[in-house]
Symmetry: C2
Subunit: 274 residues, 2 copies
């Protein structure tokens, strides 16, 4: 039986940073089953007391004190949370003091501003990247391709859409994506509409077995999902991209985050951090 | 002149956690201008040396040592980075030891597994949430609304699409969205197709000045973007949602992350942490 433990992510704002940090740490411990609970918007004594009650109940029920990853800027509130019946890892407490010292400045201790709305311009540019990406999904539109920062190409269902959406939504990058189809392979050249933008193209490829599994979910037992078809398309797409000198990434063993990060790095693009 | 300082986010994987943590800390310091550089995939001595060279060059050029937020699991590599000419905040170093103690277990020290591809099932369910959200954007499809976990409603351009995409892509939630239009206001009832799913509906509203600014970007000087039209639609939508007993959030002053977190909290839905 695995070792079980409750883990609370407690934050004065969305809890997204606490979750990212906490998960990163928890993945280092094998053989545990962590029950994860996020408590966001702990920005008042009442909210802190409710969070503490929930943490203490969990400790009692499990007979084991939970782990709490806390990201609360207000010192009084975070102290309060540290007194719960739990092992509290408080990252503001750990890092604000050394930063204050390094910057010779006092922190503002204003409630978590990360993942909040900072200014309209930033919001508009994020929305614009999302709209651009949606409008240019799967080759739907080509008239504004010159405004794209990246154009992903590859066979149908190799991961272009999720990666594009991630780049738009989470990195503020205008990313179009364009399918490579059996007609392109027959002709042996890239589609006309993306040819003028060759320097922005980035290829995604995929193991044919994985492609088959994904297409099978989508259109069970269709020719489109057959092993032969998947193998043939992947091979032809790789050849086409290689001969056109397009950089290529294999999406089979990479998460959306890893794909996006690698593309930005290779294309020398900065992601916007929201 | 603002106080400038270079900040490096150094990671053995994507750097997303280091960025989240670092930004959260940096927002606490007013009056600084931080130049942010992410160095992902520092997973070999050679990559570490390249990162260190970049950090040290920056220190020399600026005449001020940079701040480094480091998230590298491998102890030898992270030690190496700590010897650069910088103030290094190393979050594995800070938190792994107390966690090991609390769990009475050794951490695996396997290179960062967060934001990586853990298993196919998780990947498929994420992709499914994204596909569902895309297929049900802006009322495009209604036939699978019974499978939605949330259905966002509101006037055109009040923030439904970005919030839905965020919920799909970043939280693994099947989120549909459906516009409320002048025809609905005239009729005075919710659209027929969403009526059977009232318990899943969640309303977004927006300040009419902000809506006007957003629509003005979209279709400059159209009746659609006029002050009167925006005011009228917002008021009518709020009335309709109120009378139907739909919970409502104002998107004007909230980030996408805050909207998504609040919706999940109020609907008692767990977000999947990728």
């Amino acid at each position: 039986m695995p070792n079980r433990r409750a883990v609370f992510f407690v934050s004065d704002r969305t809890g997204i940073t606490a979750e990212a940090l906490g998960n990163s740490l928890l993945t280092q411990f094998d053989g545990f089953e962590f029950r994860k609970i996020t408590i966001p918007f702990v920005d008042s004594p009442e909210a802190a007391d409710r969070a503490i009650a929930q943490i203490n109940e969990s400790a009692e029920r499990d007979g084991k004190r939970p782990i709490v990853i806390s990201s609360i800027v207000d010192e009084k509130l975070s102290e309060r949370v540290r007194e719960s019946n739990a092992r509290v890892l408080d990252f503001f407490q750990a890092f604000i003091a050394p930063l204050e010292q390094e910057l010779s400045a006092k922190s503002s201790h204003a409630a978590g501003r990360s993942h909040g709305l900072r200014n309209s311009q930033e919001y508009f540019s994020r929305i614009e990247a999302i709209n651009f990406t949606l409008a240019h999904d799967d080759g739907q539109s080509t008239k504004e391709l010159h405004r794209a920062q990246v154009i992903l190409v590859g066979v149908s269902r190799c991961g272009k859409t999720p990666t594009s959406l991630y780049l738009g939504l989470q990195c503020g990058i205008r990313c179009a994506n364009f399918p490579l189809t059996p007609e392109d392979f027959e002709r042996g050249t890239l589609p006309d509409s993306i040819l003028p933008h060759r320097e922005k193209l980035f290829g995604l490829t995929i193991a044919s077995e994985r492609l088959q599994a994904i297409r099978q979910e989508r259109r069970p037992d269709s020719p489109y999902a057959s092993a032969t078809q998947c193998k043939r398309e992947v091979l032809a797409a790789e050849r086409l991209m290689e001969s056109a000198g397009i950089p290529m990434l294999n999406s089979s063993t990479k998460s959306i985050e890893e794909l996006a990060t690698t593309i930005l790095l290779q294309r020398n693009l900065d992601r916007h951090i929201f």
